[in-house]
């Protein structure tokens, strides 16, 4: 059976070039980077090299990169760290209603500890504005945390504008850029970003490794303590093969970022254009233009997302959905609900996320299969009256 993987926002394929870079660090070069001997120093040099690669991808200084287990840990570290360290200055945090749960649940945890959190609403495209952030700012605001691009609907937030505002107001600005790194050009200096979370497996790197960028001068206490690794900012023996893989993956992703993005956008736009021509009564979720180059998200009215995914999967197509049945709760995606979708329409969402390996043949196959799936499920649906 033909197989088409369109769930690259969930995770991506580790590319062989990255794996080859990692392999020696699992067998031959196994020293602990903290050890002063030859074995250790070989590993330490590899970690330094990777730190350089990650830093230059976002125009940061290597000393500003802290390696950790991934995006969730980076979000937790940044938000809880700032809250703890700067609580004397204030206890107010600004975020949005459409953040990843790694941010939202961390904020909810802080609310229980006496912090106040403003969850900015979004427009129908899942977008917030810098004006909204400005209006929500108070004297006791210590942190603004807003995602670079939304993982479900692909909407790209006005990060540079928000960064500028936060810098002017002297409020720390963290962005969860897990979906953006390796896909969009990022310059933490030009964009006035103070902290940024990233995860290697979203850009063809290995799972279990990520990083938090923290601008010089900002103190983020360690979430994991028990060792002096990462200059006391994250304890635990470094995941050397992972770090090496992340460095190589980010270098490759950013080397011809624009060409890859353009290639994906052509295919993304073909899907966005053709789906409504082949399936009546669908709704594009997310911003029409300010959108990740690899994200397509449609609600197919009158049918439910998990059954769409299941039937796509039986035809070899891997996608994802914001339906409750795939989230493990009774409510559909908080992102889609925040954008004003009804529960019914939110349940029928399908997300397809491309990568630079996706071919036009793959897209044509989806355009052949998806209308059949929609028709079959609508035929079964008590909500649909043709």
């Amino acid at each position: 059976m033909k197989r088409v993987y369109l769930d690259n926002a969930a995770t991506t394929r580790l590319i062989p070039e990255v794996l080859n870079e990692m392999l020696p660090y699992m067998t031959d070069i196994y020293g602990n980077p903290s050890s002063p001997h030859y074995f250790g120093q070989q590993s330490a040099m590899a970690v330094d090299r990777a730190r350089q690669q990650v830093a230059s991808a976002i125009n940061a200084d290597p000393s500003e990169i802290i390696f950790m287990s991934g995006g969730s840990e980076a979000d937790n570290t940044a938000i809880r760290g700032i809250a703890e360290r700067y609580s004397k200055k204030g206890k107010h945090i600004i975020t949005t209603a459409v953040e990843h749960h790694a941010v939202l649940h961390t904020c909810q945890l802080l609310e229980k500890q006496g912090y106040e959190v403003t969850y900015l609403p979004v427009d129908e495209y899942g977008m917030v504005t810098a004006e909204q952030v400005r209006d929500a700012m108070r004297d006791d605001t210590i942190l603004v945390t807003i995602m670079f691009a939304n993982n479900e609907v692909g909407t790209i937030m006005p990060i540079a504008e928000i960064g500028k505002l936060c810098r002017e107001r002297k409020v720390f600005f963290h962005t969860d850029a897990v979906q953006a790194v390796g896909h969009l050009p990022i310059d933490v200096q030009a964009m006035n970003i103070d902290m940024l979370s990233m995860s290697a497996h979203k850009f063809h790197g290995p799972k279990g490794i990520g990083a938090l960028y923290v601008r010089k001068g900002i103190i983020v206490p360690a979430l994991i303590v028990g060792g002096a690794q990462e200059r006391n900012r994250r304890a635990g023996t470094e995941n050397v093969p992972g770090i090496v893989g992340m460095g190589k993956a980010i270098e490759l992703a950013c080397s011809d970022l624009e060409a890859k993005a353009n290639k994906m956008m052509v295919l993304r736009d073909k899907l966005i254009r053709e789906i409504p021509l082949r399936i009546p009564e669908v709704k594009l979720n997310g911003h029409p233009t300010s959108r990740l180059p690899n994200n397509v998200n449609y609600s197919i009215k009158y049918i439910e997302g998990e059954s769409i995914l299941l039937m796509l999967d039986l035809n070899g197509i891997a996608a994802s959905s914001g339906s409750a049945c795939t989230s493990g709760s009774l409510d559909p995606s908080h992102v889609l609900l925040a954008m004003g979708l009804t529960h019914e329409v939110a349940h029928g969402s399908v997300r397809m996320t491309l990568c630079d390996d996706t071919t036009e043949e793959d897209i044509d196959y989806v355009l052949e299969v998806l209308p059949k799936v929609a028709a079959k499920l609508r035929d079964m649906s008590p909500l649909y009256h043709a």
Partner: protein
């Protein structure tokens, strides 16, 4: 996550769609929760369910449990149909993931709603005589 039996009923649903001349119809669930099941039955004078059909908006498990429930009550008396339990539907499907058990409950409720509707229609009919 799903058994082969569930996938079979999902891909090849039995008794799908509205049936002709039905005399009992039940609809349970709601779009907000992501599951709606509609069950149609045609009961003959002997109280036997001659034909049954379903329409479902929902996940794979919701579709499979609807399909299985229709198979289990077809040709049975309405009294037997009322005895259909969600556990029996789950068992016939060779299991469901824990988070999907509510789908089987919905299937049981849909059958009961259809039989209730049938009884109501019969009462109205006799009242009109």
């Amino acid at each position: 996550m799903y058994t082969e039996k569930v996938l079979d009923h999902f891909q090849n649903p039995r008794n799908q769609g509205e049936i002709e001349n039905y005399n009992g119809m039940g609809m349970v669930g709601n779009a907000k929760c992501g599951d709606i099941m509609q069950m149609f039955i045609r009961v003959n004078d002997e109280g036997i369910i001659e034909d049954v059909g379903f329409k479902t908006f929902g996940c794979g498990a919701a579709i499979a449990t609807s399909s299985m429930a229709t198979e289990m009550i077809k040709g049975k008396s309405i009294d037997d149909a009322l005895k259909l339990s969600n556990e029996a539907v789950v068992e016939a499907l060779e299991g469901l993931p824990p988070v999907k058990i509510h789908c089987s409950v919905l299937a049981e409720e849909a059958v009961k709603a259809a039989v209730d509707d049938y009884h109501k229609r019969m009462e109205e009919k006799s009242d009109n005589k």
